[in-house]
């Protein structure tokens, strides 16, 4: 008889979830003045949903699956494990819990899962979403590219702001530093350098300091790249974004991951001028000046300061 073991979450991941995200989520819940609808990748053990349940609304959508051979797939064992765990936690937990099948990028890009099911907090056949909390805990890096040189993950990130247009949300993102900075990512950084570096020597200096860590400390490259990307994607859709300091941690299999959090407030539908050097709440310089956080002895501390 096959013996099944529970999926192991890394201790560091637990710290991030319980000591960092929980704080941001409780603050976001205060701002929204209601429990938060959730869409994310909670994994078979549903740890997000369990640890954050006091702040979450009834409507929670989990996405499970992977992309292979040009299409979405799901491992039936994992699917069944997620559902078993959700059901074993009782009727109140399973009420409003939705499982969508397939890779999350396909879901975001198409608006539906591999079986044609739409996210429960959506309208117009999945065209527009209204989730309060989106947690995309990617196992891999951000920059896997297609043959056309386009990262599906990057395209999906862009699409999220289109789907969520008109609805404030907290976006949590986690990337593996491996295979993370492709050609597309470099282009975003070049673009930011060209646009804002000339008139702002401090910004140029900070950006160069981050980019210079390529091959050495990739977390810092990501620390600069991801906010640049989010800014460019969010503001055309009318979002003002607050970026929190990213957290670097070592996950299972010694993988180095960087965890980001963005508070995305929808201000208007007409959109902001693209290529402005400011997030509504912070300038790019201010964002680069944010510290890189890390975990020591189960606590989250600033690893590197940029002031």
């Amino acid at each position: 008889m096959k013996v099944r073991k529970a999926f192991q979450s890394s201790e560091n991941k637990d710290v991030v979830r319980r000591k960092w995200d929980l704080l941001l989520i409780s603050e976001w819940r205060e701002i929204k003045a209601q429990n938060l609808t959730y869409l994310g990748l909670p994994g078979p053990e549903l740890r997000d949903l369990i640890d954050w349940q006091d702040y979450l609304a009834r409507e929670r959508t989990a996405v499970e699956g992977y992309y292979a051979a040009g299409k979405s797939n799901i491992d039936p064992d994992i699917q069944q494990r997620i559902l078993t765990n959700a059901m074993a936690l009782g009727g109140n937990f399973s009420s409003g819990f939705q499982l969508l099948r397939g890779d999350v990028e396909s879901l975001i890009l198409t608006g539906h899962d591999m079986n044609g099911a739409f996210p429960q907090c959506s309208k117009s056949r999945g065209e527009y979403w209204f989730y309060d909390l989106i947690n995309l805990d990617f196992c891999g890096g951000v920059g896997y590219e297609s043959k056309r040189g386009i990262s599906r993950r990057i395209s999906a990130l862009k699409k999220i702001f289109e789907r969520q247009c008109g609805h404030d949300f907290l976006l949590l993102l986690t990337f593996n530093v491996r295979s993370t900075v492709g050609k597309q990512i470099e282009e975003y950084l070049d673009d930011a350098q060209a646009r804002f570096g000339c008139g702002n020597p401090r910004f140029a200096q900070l950006l160069n300091a981050h980019r210079a860590q390529r091959g050495n400390k990739m977390s810092l490259v990501l620390k600069a790249a991801i906010p640049c990307i989010i800014q460019q994607f969010s503001e055309p859709h009318g979002f003002a974004v607050r970026c929190y300091p990213p957290v670097e941690y070592t996950g299972t299999g010694r993988a180095v991951l960087v965890h980001f959090a963005f508070q995305c407030m929808h201000i208007n539908r007409s959109g902001f001028p693209v290529h402005s050097d400011r997030f509504t709440f912070q300038s790019l310089q201010e964002i680069l000046e944010l510290p890189l956080m890390g975990i020591r002895d189960g606590e989250i501390i600033a690893l590197e300061e940029f002031k």
Binding site: M1, K2, Q80, T84, A88, S94, D113, N115, A117
Partner: protein, 522 residues
């Protein structure tokens, strides 16, 4: 017979033959949950998956192994609904994969049984194409199903059945939550709504019946509010009456019924719960229409005033295949006769109560009339004609009290009697007034009306206007305890008018009296 003598195709013949409707398959899994003593069963529909989760006793490995067997059940017929040992395969034609995860209280292991139904069906299809590839049923099951174990929580107990990858047409059918709810209400033993005030009282008695189990069922579907499948919370019901139907000292059925607290129908939205319905081990046999014809009084109107259930206990009474009636048998005949007697008793009971309610209403009106006349007499002087009118009013009230008081129970009858004496005294007082004003004491002139301050004014005013004692055809019918359905009232008014035009007063009165007597006899 050897193992290999039973071919794999049998599973397909059995399950697909028995469970032609996907709802039947869901019913089987819910029924298993109820048989496992579940208090709550959750049916979750998400994506193309249906999950049935219960908080029943769960299974250990040995019990899970037994559950996989075909046509072997350890459940006793009298105690459980599922007894054929095939129900676990009811999802065979419905989903590609069936997973049963179970945790028994006190066990530190959680066990999982997985069926690859898609693989089984593929194997059977290949067999049909190529007869050389035949496989024994046992081999098919062993090859396409397996067990897994994981660490469990000994404090928990549950069973979770996953029907994974359900085909689109089937799933569309299941996703109609209202249809599923109605189906479950009829086909599995569901509990009363927790807020039903007599739930505990009735369930306490039902739980003594052999095989009685009931659960609260919750349907959870993506993007929809949870739907609770329980017997509805019908408002304004009087406390239940319960009892057994017996034959030769043997209890053949248990019943409970409640009437509406007002003399009126149970609301339209609960129409399917009006009257009485047969139950067998919790599921419904037929509908309330099956027993509707047994209600005779007032054209069967009392059927709509009550709600109740008859739980059949006699094992000789077997439902037909459609479950819309019982198979013909002597035992069924006996039950039918007993139920007829029960319905007669119910009707007598409700009728008695209805007569009491009507009597109270009439006496209250009479009391108000008497009070109004008394007040007038105490404060004003009247002409002879006016005194005659007042006297007539009191006499009419006195007649009403006299007629209705016998319908009341003892303490209230005493009160009515006192009121009648009060009316008699008042009438004598008016008589003396008439004698003092006009000694000849003859009646002349027309009616007066006495204005009243209370909300009863219009009623009393009617009774003070002559001829106060002449009821209409509609009043006569209603006072005899019959209800005139809305819309037919106008028809009766036309008939009434025609009778008044054609007949003299005496004949008209005689006809009404005759009608009243006939209705009372009914």
């Amino acid at each position: 017979m050897r193992e290999e003598d039973v071919g794999a195709t049998l599973i397909s013949i059995l399950s697909e033959g028995l469970y032609t409707n996907p709802l039947h398959a869901i019913r089987e899994y819910v029924q298993n949950s109820i048989d496992a003593g579940a208090h709550e069963v959750i049916i979750k529909m998400t994506g193309n998956t249906v999950i049935v989760r219960d908080d029943g006793c769960g299974m250990n490995l040995e019990e899970l192994r037994q559950a996989r067997q075909v046509g072997i059940s350890r459940k006793e017929y009298a105690q459980f609904v599922g007894f054929r040992g095939i129900g676990i395969y009811s999802g065979f034609g419905l989903c590609n994969r069936l997973v049963i995860v179970t945790q028994k209280a006190g066990e530190d292991k959680q066990y999982t049984l997985i069926f690859d139904f898609e693989g089984m069906r593929r194997q059977i299809t290949e067999e049909r194409k190529d007869r050389s590839k035949t496989m024994a049923l046992t081999e098919l099951i062993y090859r396409y199903s397996w067990f897994e174990e994981a660490s469990g929580n000994p404090t928990q107990h549950y069973t979770i059945v996953h029907l994974l990858d359900i085909g689109r047409p089937h799933f569309d059918q299941l996703y109609n939550v209202e249809k599923l709810r109605q189906y479950l209400l009829r086909n599995v033993p569901v509990d009363f709504h927790l807020a039903f005030p007599y739930r505990e009282e009735i369930v306490q008695q039902l739980s003594r019946l052999p095989g009685y189990r009931a659960s609260q069922i919750r349907i959870q579907a993506d993007g929809q509010e949870d739907v609770l499948v329980v017997k509805p919370l019908i408002p304004n019901l009087a406390p239940p009456k319960t009892g057994y139907l017996t034959h030769n000292n043997k209890e053949i059925a248990f019943y409970w019924w409640c009437r509406h607290i007002y003399p009126e129908r149970i609301p339209e939205e609960y129409a399917s719960y009006r009257g009485l319905v047969y139950k067998l081990k919790g599921f419904t046999i037929g509908s309330n229409a099956l027993l509707r014809g047994y209600f005779r009084r007032g054209g069967g109107i009392l059927h709509d005033w009550i709600t109740g259930e008859i739980y059949v206990l006699d094992e000789e009474i077997v439902p037909n295949a459609e479950r819309d009636d019982f198979q013909a048998s002597q035992a069924k005949e006996i039950l039918t006769n007993k139920v007829r007697e029960l319905v007669e008793e119910v009707e007598r009971d409700v009728d008695r109560w209805r007569t009491e309610v009507r009597a109270r209403k009439v006496i209250d009106t009479a009391r108000e009339s008497i009070r109004a006349v008394q007040e007038k007499l105490d404060t004003q002087e009247f002409s002879t004609e006016e005194y005659w009118d007042l006297r007539e009013t009191v006499r009419s009230a006195e007649e009403s009290i006299k007629k209705q008081m016998r319908s009341l129970p003892f303490p209230e009858r005493e009160d009515a009697h006192a009121l009648k004496r009060q009316a008699e005294n008042l009438r004598e007082r008016i008589q003396r007034k008439i004698a003092s004003v006009h000694p000849a004491g003859e009646r002349r002139g027309r009616s007066i009306s006495v204005a009243l301050p209370s909300t009863q004014a219009s009623l009393v005013q009617t009774s003070l206007t002559l001829p106060a004692t002449e009821p209409s055809l509609i009043q006569t019918i209603q006072e005899s305890g019959w209800e005139i359905p809305t819309g037919v009232e106008r028809l009766f008014t036309i008939i009434d008018r025609a009778l008044k035009e054609l007949l003299n007063r005496e004949s008209y009165q005689n006809i009404l009296k005759h009608i009243s007597e006939r209705l009372e006899e009914e």
